[in-house]
Every structure is written in structure tokens, then in C-alpha cells.
Amino acid sequence: MQKALYDQYAPRMLAVCVRYSKNREDAEDILQEAFVKVFNNMDKFRKESTLGYWIKRIVVNTALNYHRKSVYLYPHYDIEDMHHLGDDEVLVSNYNYRDLLNIIHSLPQGCQVIFNLYAIEGYKHKEIAEMLDISEGTSKSQYARAKSLIKEIITETGEVKHG
């Protein structure tokens, strides 16, 4: 049964792990640790959410534990000083997921984590601040920095598409 559960959810969860790490080896380490926790805590699954969502929370939790130290290596940026990136300036849909993955990997670790949590996982800045024990302002500034860097990367590649 454990193997069946692993076969069903491991591919999706590995994609999540890859977004939070810099390379595949680290991603698989995170995935391995996460699934050990999943199997050890199966009795604590109370069916308040779907099993996939529960497993994903454990995977994200494990990924954050794995790379936590990197979040604090960057100074706090005042969000007022950040360059505002208009949403219509970049059309992400023009890129496949591997390109987007490469863009994410090029971000600094702290920005990468917060960008994943806010833009892709859908957490609010207040929730991210509690999860990472940082201020809400830091979360916002790191995210703004991430967006700014993404724009720079896309601009450098010369493939900015305007909708």
C-alpha cells in the first residue's frame, strides 16, 4: 500500500520539491524525507482535506526545513523602493514549465522560497511570515525582489512578450 501511495503522488511531489531546491539531488532528498514523514504520520491524517493536499503540505514543510537558513541571508528590502512590475509586462504562459523552473532556480534561495509560497502555492504574506518566522514586510519585500529579478531575467533573454 505504501508503494502504491508513493507511485501515485511521488511524481507530482517531486515537481514541488524541484521548485524549492537548486538541483534534482536536493529535490529527491527532500522528497525522500517527506514521504518517510508521510508514512510515519498516516494515522494523523484526519481527512479534513484531500490526501494529496495533506501530502503536499508535508512536502512543502520538509522543503522549508531543508532550506530554511537561506531565507535569512538577505536583507530586508523596503517594498516602497522596489520596482513595481506590472502584471501585463510578462506573459508567463509563453514559457513551458522547464523554462519557468530555470527562472525560479536562478532566484536567490530566500526569494525562491517566498515566491513559491506566494505565487504558486497561494499562501498569503501573513501566513508566510508565520511559517518562516519573519515579518510580513520581509515576506512582501522578498517577493517584490523575486518579481523584479524575474523581469530582469526575462528581459535579458529577450523573450518578453506583451499581451
Binding site: K3, A15, N41, N61, N65, K69, G86, S93, L132, K140
Partner: protein, 508 residues
């Protein structure tokens, strides 16, 4: 800035859509690695379980051996059935004569010790012949038997004229000669006794002729004078002793005692799934530690240190009190104190620059280390530790008792309130400082109180009327967490112990 607000823009939506259904195939060996880690963890649990069940089996085996020895020994000593067998045989083979209370001239259904009679447990009073009563001479006829001048079996009536009664108030047992009265009791004597006492008395009368034993109370009838008694002059009924029922006397009795126990205590630490998992449920406290330790690159190790604990032999002692509710059920309580030991290890040491202390960092004290993390440096170092818990336990158990003479087998179950006093992390080599965490310590993950269930099986052996010794294996498992919510780990301790005790029984 509007676009930095919480409302997600199309930018975020695009990213979410891009990664929504992305999948990547894991490496071939990844599942094997996961499976091997799970197997190692399972083996650890089985090893602990094996030790527990092996100990339990040994305790049960010893109990069975003791019970079997006791039962077999009792079956060989049946002194209290000797008289009954002889009486049955006598009644089956001889024809009884009429017997009657000599003094009153009527069937006596109640004893009259005050009048000088001897009361036995059938209520029959066999009185000493009054001075003015005619006493048959030896050989004088007495009823159908006496008329013949002989007892059944052509035995001559005993010559009792020369026998003297013992002084009033005393009891003598005289070994009977062939034709002498078998027993002489003074007045006001009521004979009861335990099996062994009965046996010792009856042994003196192993040669009671069957024809004497045949004249039980069932054969007393009519109002005619007991002519045979007249003839014998001093024939006294063989005392009928009443076997005491020890179990009835122990009902509704209180008992109190002391005990010493050997224990194998497992704090049963389990990972809580990581701090962020808890944080997702709005519990941010544990994150502060990891943010502080993270700066030294070893913070994440703290959450994984000390989860594996191996039980060690521990000693506890306490007092027990209880009472029998009825013949079978008992209620027991008490108070026990023990320092429960287990062994664990850490791979992270915190060196305090100001105090010069070297402190082991485990998941249980990680929060506490955070309070002075600014003056510490973390060093990876593996060290074996002793993880001790000072606990006071108040159990309440209901027991089912099965008695076999002096041996009592009790099966009990109940609950216990366990008060956590202190946790002590100590290094056997002495290189590291000892860490003490009480329930009130800052950053302590432990609660003051947790509840557990208790099941036990015990043997009590009655040494005397008031003293008994006991041995009782028991298993205690937590019903609630020892740890507080919001920490990186949980603890639901379990404990296997064998209690050795002595108790005093207050009989009513």
C-alpha cells in the same frame, strides 16, 4: 501598492496554472531508500515490543509455576476431609442407636453451655450427667443397644466410671483407648478451626471406632432418655469442627502496603512533522528556534536529535491502598514515584561562550537553547545521553480476584494520573553539562500532567492473617501527550514494570 496586495493578479495565476499538473519521475532507487528507512524505524519499534512481550511472557510463566506449585501442594494435604470420609463410611455400614440429650430429657436443638453442657456446631448439647441423674453402671443396658449390654459389633460398653472430666473451662484431648470415651470437653467450649487445626485434632482420633462416629446428630430422636449414655456415663460427642472460610473473612477488608518496582520506561518520542506543519496551523512558536539556529547551518538537526529513545531499567517505589468491594472485586489506588530512565543520543552540541558550558541539543530542549542562542556556537558531535523523567503516578484500578486458599490472583485495569516533575538530560562521560527541564522551565515542552491506562496481573500470597506479599507485572501506556502542543515532537510514554510489595490487611 495595489499589485502587492493579497489579491492575486493574473501574474500569480499564470504561474499557478503553469505548475498545476507538472510531474517528474523520481529516480529508481528513491523508493528503496524510503523503504529501507521505514524498515529501520519499524525494526526499532519491534525490538522494543519484543523486549516488552518477552518480559511479560517470563512474568506470566513464573506466575503459572508458582500457582501450579501452590495448588499441587494443597491437593496433597487433605487433613480436613479425613473425618468426613470416616463418618460417611461409618454411616453406611452401621445402624445407629437412639441418642438424646441426657440432661434435659428432650431433644436439644440449642446448646446450653451455661448449664454445663458442651455445645457443638450442630447445636446439640451433650450434657454431663447431673449428679442426681441415674448413671448406668458399666455394662447396664441402654436402649436397644444397652439392653444387650453391648455396643454394635459386640463391643462391650466402655467403663467410664473411673474417667474424670477435665476442670471446667479447659479442654483436653486424650488419646482414646479401645473402650474409653473419645473426647472430654469442659463446658462452654465451642470448637472451630482451620483445616490444619482440624487435621491436627482428628489425627489424635485416627482410631475412632466407626460405631462411635456413626452416632451423629441425625440419629437423635424422640424424648426417651439416652440409655446408651446412661450406660456409658461419659460419652461425649466427637467435636464437629466448622471449617473457617478464610475468603469470607477477608471480604470487605481494607489493605495498605508498600511496593518496589522495576520498570522499562519508553518516553516514545515521535516527530511532529516539522515546525512549518505546525505553523500552517497558526502555531509559530517553534519556528523561532530554527531561525536562530539556522544561522550556524546546524539548526535543522535539532529537530531530529533525541527522537530515538531506548528504555533502561528504572526503579520506582510507592504505597498502595485498597479495599475489597465484594468477594471478587477490589479497588486499588496509591502513589508511586520513580525516576524513569532511557538512553538517547544527539549529534549537536551548543557551546555557551559566557558560561563555558557544553550543552547537548535535542528536540526536547531545542526551544530552551534558543533563549541563549546569541552567545552559543553549535558543533556537530555525537554523544550518548541518559534521558530521565521524574514522575509521580496516582493509579486507580479495579481488580478481579480469584482465590485459591492463601493465593490470590488479581487481574486489574484502570487509569493513572501522572505528574511530571523533571526531565534530566545527562552525559555519561561527563563532558557535557546536565540539562534539567521541569514543567515550569522556560521553553520546556512538557506538561505537568498526563493520563495513562494501566493493566496488570498480580499474585498475592497471604503470609498470615494480616500480612501478604505480592508480585504484579503491569503495563502502563499514555492516553494523553506528555508534551505540550506546538512543539516539534510528541511524547506518549509507555512503561512495563513488575511490582514487588508487602501489604497489611485490616480485617473487619
Amino acid at each position: 501598492m495595489a499589485n502587492m496586495g493579497e489579491k492575486k493578479s493574473s501574474f500569480e495565476e499564470q504561474w499557478q496554472e503553469a505548475f498545476e499538473n507538472v510531474e517528474m519521475t523520481p529516480s529508481e532507487g528513491l523508493w528503496k531508500d524510503i523503504d529501507s528507512k521505514l524498515t529501520i524505524q519499524e525494526n526499532g519499534k519491534y525490538r522494543r515490543g519484543f523486549i516488552f512481550y518477552r518480559s511479560l511472557a517470563a512474568a506470566c510463566f513464573l506466575c503459572l509455576i508458582g500457582l501450579g506449585y501452590y495448588v499441587l501442594r494443597d491437593s496433597l494435604a487433605e487433613n480436613n476431609t479425613m473425618l468426613g470420609q470416616q463418618r460417611e463410611n461409618a454411616e453406611a455400614t452401621t445402624e445407629p442407636a437412639d441418642l438424646k440429650d441426657n440432661k434435659s430429657g428432650s431433644l436439644a436443638t440449642e446448646g446450653s453451655p451455661s448449664t454445663g453442657g458442651v455445645q457443638n456446631d450442630t447445636g446439640l448439647t451433650m450434657g454431663a450427667p447431673s449428679p442426681d441423674q441415674e448413671v448406668a453402671e458399666s455394662g447396664r443396658s441402654a436402649g436397644t443397644l444397652a439392653q444387650s449390654g453391648q455396643l454394635p459389633g459386640n463391643k462391650a460398653l466402655p467403663d467410664t466410671h473411673n474417667n474424670t472430666l477435665p476442670p471446667n473451662g479447659s479442654t483436653t484431648y486424650s488419646r482414646p483407648t479401645e473402650d474409653q470415651p473419645v473426647v472430654a470437653f469442659a463446658s462452654n467450649t465451642h470448637q472451630n478451626g482451620t483445616d490444619s487445626e482440624i487435621g491436627s485434632v482428628m489425627q489424635q482420633y485416627s482410631e475412632i471406632p466407626n460405631y462411635l462416629l456413626a452416632y451423629g446428630p441425625a440419629h437423635i430422636q424422640g424424648n426417651e432418655p439416652n440409655q446408651w449414655l446412661k450406660a456409658t456415663d461419659r460419652l461425649y460427642r466427637v467435636p464437629q469442627v466448622v471449617k473457617k472460610d478464610e475468603s469470607e473473612e477477608r471480604e470487605r477488608s481494607l489493605f495498605a502496603g508498600v511496593n518496589l518496582a522495576t520498570n522499562y520506561f519508553d518516553p516514545n518520542f515521535n516527530s511532529g512533522g516539522g515546525a512549518n506543519f505546525a505553523a500552517m496551523d497558526a502555531s509559530p512558536a517553534v519556528n523561532r528556534l530554527e531561525s536562530a539556529l539556522a544561522m550556524d547551518d546546524y539548526g535543522t538537526q535539532a529537530n531530529n536529535n533525541g527522537l530515538e529513545n531506548r528504555p533502561q531499567l528504572s526503579i520506582s517505589y510507592g504505597v498502595d491502598v485498597g479495599m475489597m468491594l465484594n468477594k471478587r472485586l477490589s479497588l486499588e489506588s496509591g502513589i508511586d514515584y520513580g525516576r524513569m530512565n532511557s538512553s538517547t543520543s544527539t549529534r549537536l552540541i551548543a557551546e555557551d561562550f559566557t558560561q563555558g558550558d557544553r550543552i547537548p541539543v535535542l528536540v526536547s530542549n531545542a526551544q530552551e537553547v534558543q533563549s541563549y542562542s546569541s552567545r552559543t556556537q553549535f558543533t556537530p558531535q555525537e554523544q550518548q545521553l541518559t534521558n530521565s523523567f521524574d514522575i509521580i503516578s496516582l493509579p486507580l484500578k479495579l481488580g478481579y480476584n480469584m482465590r485459591f486458599n492463601r493465593l490470590n490472583v488479581v487481574l486489574s485495569s484502570g487509569v493513572a494520573a501522572n505528574f511530571f516533575l523533571n526531565n534530566r538530560l545527562s552525559d555519561r562521560s561527563g563532558q557535557l553539562s546536565t540539562v534539567n527541564l521541569s514543567a515550569s522551565s522556560a521553553g520546556s515542552p512538557y506538561r505537568r500532567l498526563y493520563y495513562s491506562a494501566v493493566v496488570s496481573g498480580g499474585l498475592n500470597y497471604l503470609l498470615s492473617e494480616h500480612y501478604a506479599v505480592s508480585v504484579s507485572p503491569n503495563y502502563n501506556f499514555a492516553l494523553s501527550d506528555l508534551t505540550q502542543a506546538g512543539y516539534n515532537f510528541s511524547s506518549q510514554p509507555n512503561n512495563f514494570g513488575i511490582d514487588f510489595g508487602i501489604r497489611y490487611i485490616f480485617n473487619k
